[in-house]
């Protein structure tokens, strides 16, 4: 029986599917053999080859110039001449002998070294035997042998030293003889060097094969393969190539070497990928997609925390805005800790009037455009409830009107006005937008505050408003009354009738308390009963990496489903996603929104390791001690001044004040502050300090706030002669033209402090130290560093310290 033959279709099917498999395999191989990164690298290599070829041609052309040819001929003949000269020496015996000496010396040295090695090996072998041997007799023999060998090794060592120096001498002699030839040959080589190098570049560019490029960064646990396609990103010179072959913009790569930082830490994206779109990370299941170009600047803030990075103003501005606008009051961010930005509301019931409160709650910016409180878009009932609750918060009876204060007399108001001006309240408070911004605007304050509260506040600011920056002026009772009379008479809104009327319905205190809990007012204000409450907003730690799936787009179908679109919409229109949202309307400008967006884009989950961080000076916080500390707290000196890194920047830094100013000047100044710089409008307010207080402050400054590098005395007795003063004067006016910035008497510039009162104010040690090196005493000083030699500094110091104020003002100048 014949076996059934496989039918033809079977063979055909097999052939067909085999062919199909082969095709599929071919597709696979084709796909793998020419990935995109290889294409880019080949394109770049082609470009490089063209450039290298052009460079080689240019170098060759340069060489073909008649001048270059002439030079080549000259050098060649020079080489030839030198070689002939050397050849002559050879025959003469000079060169030949020198070479022979050198060879012999090297041979001898090699022999001795070989001997030494052998001896040492033998020594070690015998030593081993010695250590293992148990037999005393044998050990004695071996010890003797070891001693012999040691002597031999030492002798050989000496011999080797001798031979080595002999070899060096011989070698030097040979080099002297061949010097001319070597030099001529080197010159000739230098002529041909550019061509050789260009050709070598061309050869290597031709040989280069595409390869995956990566930065493997262990400290960040990343492998960034971006440069497989972005080949020239870290190589300068390719700024005009099309992407992806272009050099990275700016100096970021220079400042942040890629071997340490990679690419994705700033740009996002999937570093390990080598294909689009996976590499740019704009794919599902990758949580850090490539950032839009304008948001990349936000990532600076990941490491440069708090400080402004040059060329990137938005992230630091965003962080500042985040704190200033009080975002941290509702939204927690790990590592961001700042005090509450709003005034404490304990006792607010006795502080403000109901009409004002209603207006404020309805539209804070309507009352005060520059306020930081946002608009919570409260319906009338909620305003009524909140008002009821807040007005129920009263403190002890000390804010009740003091009996006997009848309507004040008009002279009281005038006296109050004088006192207001004398105390220079406008240093910190603006009146109708003119003045400082440390304290609240006072233009209409009497319409807001209750008189009793204001009176009590002026007497004891900290007790009424804990955490306030207002110092305690040493006003008498009558002075306080006068001030209050002035404020209530003048600093009020004369248009109170046109104020929006409070809601008609009555509010419930309990309901109001519930609203406080709902809206999270305690995020910005200290409120009794809510001291330890948490934050009502979503935590924003790692917000930059929040997945789009977890963002609630709610009813807004028109918002693109991206992180950026959601965040921008939220900042612009916080409650638009669905009903019942609580975030207030901050009425941010476009620039402010973008700054915040950039800052939010910097809040990644992954924190850079500690060695990458650059905190903006997290110094140990300075705490003033003792009586000085009490006074500093009472007067709130650190609102304007800074000491040892803590405090404000409105007034001079006092860290070295003790070394800087004279003791008597200091006491005079504390009693009656005067103008130090003519170019500034403001000066220190007068706090009416008592003798004892002035003494305490001055004492502390003179003993604690000193810099040991500033000498106490500079001049030896008798050193200050008129001649020295004249010299100093000449240096001041003629050599260095200091009067370009400083004023003496009536003449000079107004950039730096006037120097008329130098002798009165500054210590001689400070003047001298400052002239020697101002930067050491104040890194932020604008005075250029002249690096004056010692004699000149002394001379100028002597001149300055000789100035007598009264004479100058009388004579009109020097």
């Amino acid at each position: 029986m014949s076996p059934p033959v496989p039918r033809l279709p079977l063979r055909a099917w097999t052939a067909l599917s085999g062919a199909g498999l082969a095709c599929a395999f071919a597709v696979l191989v084709a796909r793998e053999a020419n990935p995109d990164w290889a294409r880019h690298q080949r394109a770049f290599s082609r470009f490089e080859r063209v450039e290298a070829a052009a460079a080689a041609r240019a170098a060759e052309d340069a060489l073909r110039q008649p001048a270059a040819q002439q030079q080549a001929r000259e050098l060649a003949s020079r080489v030839e001449a030198a070689e002939t000269a050397l050849a002559r020496l050879q025959g003469d015996g000079g060169y030949g002998r020198a070479r022979g000496d050198l060879e012999r010396a090297e041979r001898e040295l090699a022999d001795v070294q070989e001997d030494m090695q052998r001896t040492r090996a033998e020594y070690q072998a015998i030593e081993r035997e010695f250590l293992l041997s148990q037999n005393d007799e044998a050990r004695r023999h071996l010890r003797a042998r070891l001693d012999e060998l040691r002597v031999k090794v030492d002798a050989l060592g000496l011999e080797r030293e001798r031979l080595a120096s002999a070899r060096d001498t011989a070698s030097r002699r040979v080099r002297v003889l061949t010097a001319e030839v070597d030099a001529a040959q080197a010159a000739l080589d230098a002529l041909y060097e550019p061509v050789k190098r260009a050709n070598a570049d061309l050869a290597s560019a031709a040989r280069r094969r595409p390869q995956v490029q990566q930065f493997l960064i262990d400290s960040l646990e990343r492998a960034d393969r971006c440069t497989s396609c972005h080949i020239a990103a870290t190589r300068p010179g390719f700024e005009r190539m099309p992407e992806p072959l272009r050099t990275h913009v700016g100096r970021y790569i220079g400042d942040h070497p890629s071997e340490r930082f990679g690419c994705t830490i700033c740009h996002g994206g999937q570093g390990r990928a080598t294909r689009l779109p996976a590499a740019h990370g704009r794919v599902p299941h990758w949580r850090q997609p490539l950032l839009d170009g304008d948001l990349v600047g936000g990532r600076c803030a990941m490491c440069h925390r708090g400080e402004t990075v040059p060329g990137e103003p938005y992230a630091a501005a965003g962080r500042r805005l985040f704190l200033e606008a009080g975002c941290h009051g509702c939204h927690e961010v790990e590592g961001v800790a700042a005090p509450r930005i709003g005034p404490p509301l304990g006792g607010v019931g006795a502080k403000v009037g109901g009409a004002w409160l209603a207006w404020w709650l309805r539209d804070p910016k309507g009352y005060l455009p520059q306020t930081r409180m946002p608009n919570f878009l409260l319906p009338d009932q909620e305003i009524a409830d909140l008002s009821a609750f807040l007005l129920s918060l009263r403190q002890s009876s000390s804010t009740e009107p003091v009996p006997g204060t009848a309507a004040p007399a008009p002279e009281a108001a005038k006296r109050g006005e004088a006192l207001f001006k004398e105390s220079r309240c406008v240093t910190c408070h603006a009146v109708n937008t003119r003045g400082g911004t440390i304290g609240p605007e006072l233009g209409r304050v009497a319409s807001k505050l209750r008189d009793a509260w204001l009176t009590a506040f002026l007497r004891e600011p900290v007790r009424l408003s804990p955490g306030t920056k207002m110092p305690r002026y040493r006003f008498t009772g009558r002075e306080v009354t006068d001030l209050v009379a002035y404020i209530t008479a003048e600093l009020r809104d004369f248009d109170e009738q046109s104020w929006p009327s409070p809601p008609a319905m009555s509010g419930g205190v309990e309901a109001g308390q519930g609203l406080v809990r709902k809206y999270g007012c305690f995020g910005c204000h200290d409120i009794p009963g809510f001291e330890r409450s948490g934050r009502v907003g979503a935590e924003l730690t790692g917000y930059a990496d929040k997945e789009v799936e977890r963002l609630d787009f709610g009813l807004r179908r028109d918002v693109p489903r991206t992180w950026r679109a959601w965040t921008e919409t939220k900042l612009r229109d916080p409650r638009s996603f669905r009903d019942g949202l609580k975030m207030a309307d901050f009425q941010l400008s476009t620039r402010e929104r973008f700054s915040l967006l950039t800052y939010l884009a910097s809040l990644t989950e992954e924190k850079p390791p500690a060695e990458y961080l650059r905190d903006a000076g997290a110094l140990a916080a300075y705490e003033p001690e003792g009586r000085f500390g009490e006074l500093v707290t009472d007067l709130n000196c650190l609102v304007c001044h800074s000491i040892r890194g803590r405090g404000g920047s409105l007034a001079p830094d006092l860290t070295r004040e003790g070394s800087r100013v004279r003791a008597d000047w200091l006491r005079r100044f504390l009693d009656q502050p005067g103008t130090i710089r003519l170019s500034l409008e403001e000066r220190m307010p007068r706090f009416r300090l008592s003798r004892e207080e002035i003494e305490a402050i001055a004492d502390y400054i003179e003993n604690v706030l000193v810099d040991p590098a500033v000498p106490k005395t500079v001049f030896a007795p008798g050193e200050v002669t008129p001649g020295l003063v004249q010299l100093g004067k000449a240096l001041y006016y003629d050599t260095y033209a200091c009067d370009g910035c400083h004023q003496i008497g009536m003449t000079g510039g107004a950039v730096g402090p006037e120097l008329t009162v130098t002798a009165e104010r500054l210590t001689e040690g400070w003047v001298y130290a400052w002239l020697r090196n101002s930067r050491a005493l104040d890194p932020n000083a604008r005075e250029p560093v002249y690096e004056l030699p010692d004699e000149e500094a002394r001379a100028i110091a002597a001149f300055l310290l000789s100035l007598k104020e009264r004479e100058l003002y009388r004579t009109g100048g020097v």
Partner: protein
């Protein structure tokens, strides 16, 4: 006409002489001793050589040298067993290559996956092949089991091979499960978390099971994971199981499985439906190379009788080489082609790196365990995750010993095995339905979502359920079991009276266990019954 002249003549002469020279050289080569040391027989197309090709080759001698023509029919086996083997070999080869690039360390496993996908040449393709072959293998072994059932190829003498097959099925699922964890992404981590959490519900041996004797530190889940949660220990031991222990066990059992197929004779080769029990036919087939009398048409009804009575027309026997091997080769190529195209087209999934704090909602088990996860809606974990799967495996293993009907071996006989087919298909399709529901109809919170409904829209669940009071529950269960055991034997003694009491009891208990699931589903979906029996120790 006639002899060509000129250049064509020269070319022809050259071609002929080259051919002559080559064939002479070839003839000398194959006559050498070295050649014969490797290739023991010639390759001319003679019958002897064709038979030797199979019997003297270590790989091919798995086959007999000849087989009846009915054994060539593709639509009998659909090549499922052979496909499963092919996929196993493919998985081993691709697995070895993947092992070159993967380290089972939780700190770098995910990055290694990324490197395989993006840097290793052909890495993405390799990974895709491995993953899709794994899924394909799970499917083919299930279908193979279905086929074996439908062709009654588990009936005596082939019961034990069926048992080996069930164990191989379990090994396949475990291989897939252990490999599922290795990419260390969110899918992997949470699928294994869900899968192993069921172990905590094991009675006695699970920390949360009824009558628990152990704590979390030494229960069954701790044994599986090496820790109280999925972590480095789990990754390492799953890797070792996946790459070493389970493949070895599978290879050994495969050897047994193939040995048994040959020893019991390939069932399609019999095609003697009239014979009751296979042993008499087996006697006939003992002589090697015997030409087996075949019956072309299937007789009606199961008729017992000696084999000689059904001797019919002239026998048709095919040589395995080349006929069967050609078919297998084609099947292999087609399967590889399909797998290749699938792997070129669709990438294996890889989500974000595993995070213990970031639970996806829903967290789903691997698709072949979704049936169990779906059952969790209707039963507590100790039933849905431990008892029912255990019953399934036990039921499958005992199946050959419980089936009283001996007919149908070697062909698809549905007419004479209606009950058995109905029961098996019911269970099989129920399993598939549960998987389909779990995969496509379950969204966040394991809430019912139609496949096209977006998961972004949250669906609150309002179901209010009630439980049977315990006396009623106890009564219901007793009634169910009692009636289930009593009635069939009473009502159909001709079917159920023929087997022993013990067998009958086991058979009915397994069937009742299986039926409990759709019954419970009905109770839940229609009557909102949550538990039928609530006791302080367990709930049903």
């Amino acid at each position: 006409m006639g002899q060509p002249r000129g250049l064509p003549a020269v070319l022809l002469a050259a071609r002929m002489s080259v051919r002559h020279g080559v064939s002479r050289a070839w003839g000398r080569l194959v006559a050498t001793r070295s050649w014969h040391s490797v290739f023991r027989h010639g390759y001319e197309d003679t019958r002897r050589n064709r038979l030797l090709q199979v019997s003297s080759n270590v790989f091919l001698h798995l086959h007999p040298t000849t087989t009846p023509a009915s054994g060539l029919k593709f639509a009998y086996t659909w090549g499922l067993g052979g496909l499963s083997l092919l996929l196993f070999v493919l998985l081993t080869v691709t697995g070895v290559f993947l092992m070159f690039y993967y380290v089972p360390d939780t700190r770098r496993a995910y990055d290694d996956m990324k490197d395989i996908e993006f840097v290793v040449p052909f890495g993405q393709f390799l990974r895709n092949l491995h993953r899709w072959a794994a899924h394909a293998m799970v499917i083919t072994v299930w279908l193979h089991m279905l086929r074996v059932f439908l062709t009654s190829s588990y009936k005596p003498p082939r019961e034990f091979n069926w048992v080996v097959g069930v164990v191989l099925l379990v090994l396949t699922l475990l291989l897939s499960f252990s490999g599922y964890l290795l990419p260390w992404d969110q899918i992997a981590f949470w699928a294994i978390t869900v899968g192993t959490n069921m172990a905590t519900a094991t009675p006695f041996l699970g920390a949360e099971g009824p009558f628990s004797l152990v704590t979390y530190d030494n229960d069954l889940r701790f044994l599986i994971l090496g820790s109280r949660s999925v972590g480095q220990s789990a990754l390492l031991r799953f890797y070792v199981l996946h790459c070493l222990a389970l493949p070895l066990a599978a290879a050994v059992l495969l050897a047994v499985h193939f040995w048994r197929v040959r020893k019991d004779k390939f069932s399609a080769a019999l095609a003697l439906p009239a014979i009751s029990g296979g042993s008499q036919a087996a006697d006939l087939l003992e002589k090697p190379g015997a030409e087996v009398p075949l019956q072309e048409t299937a007789p009606a009804g199961a008729v017992a009788g000696p084999a000689r009575e059904v001797r019919a027309a002239a026998p048709r026997v095919a040589e395995v080489w080349p006929h069967l091997v050609a078919i297998e080769f084609l099947a292999a190529i087609v399967a590889l082609l399909m797998l290749h195209v699938w792997s070129l087209w669709i990438d294996a999934p890889l989500e974000q790196v595993a995070s213990a704090t970031n639970t996806p909602n829903p967290a789903k088990a691997p698709w072949y365990f979704l049936g169990l996860q779906e059952m969790l809606v209707y039963f507590d974990a100790w039933i849905a995750g431990v008892v029912l799967p255990g019953l399934i495996i036990v039921g499958l293993i005992l199946l050959p010993y419980l089936d009283p009907n001996p007919v149908g071996v070697g062909f698809y006989d549905l007419r004479h095995r209606k009950r058995a087919t109905a029961v098996f298909l019911f269970g099989f399709l129920l399993w598939v339905a549960l998987i389909v529901i779990g995969q496509f109809f379950r969204g966040p919170g394991w809430v019912w979502y139609l496949p096209w409904e977006s998961w972004e829209v949250a669906k609150p669940v309002y179901e209010k359920t009630w439980n049977f009071p315990w006396p009623a529950g106890l009564a219901a269960i007793a009634l169910y079991l009692g009636l289930g055991l009593y009635l069939p034997r009473r009502l159909r003694p001709e079917v159920y009276g023929t087997i022993s009491h013990r067998r009958y009891a086991v058979l009915m208990l397994l069937a009742l266990g299986m039926l409990a699931l759709p019954l419970k589903m009905l109770l839940r979906l229609v009557f909102h019954v949550h538990y039928v029996l609530v006791t302080p120790w367990f709930r049903i």
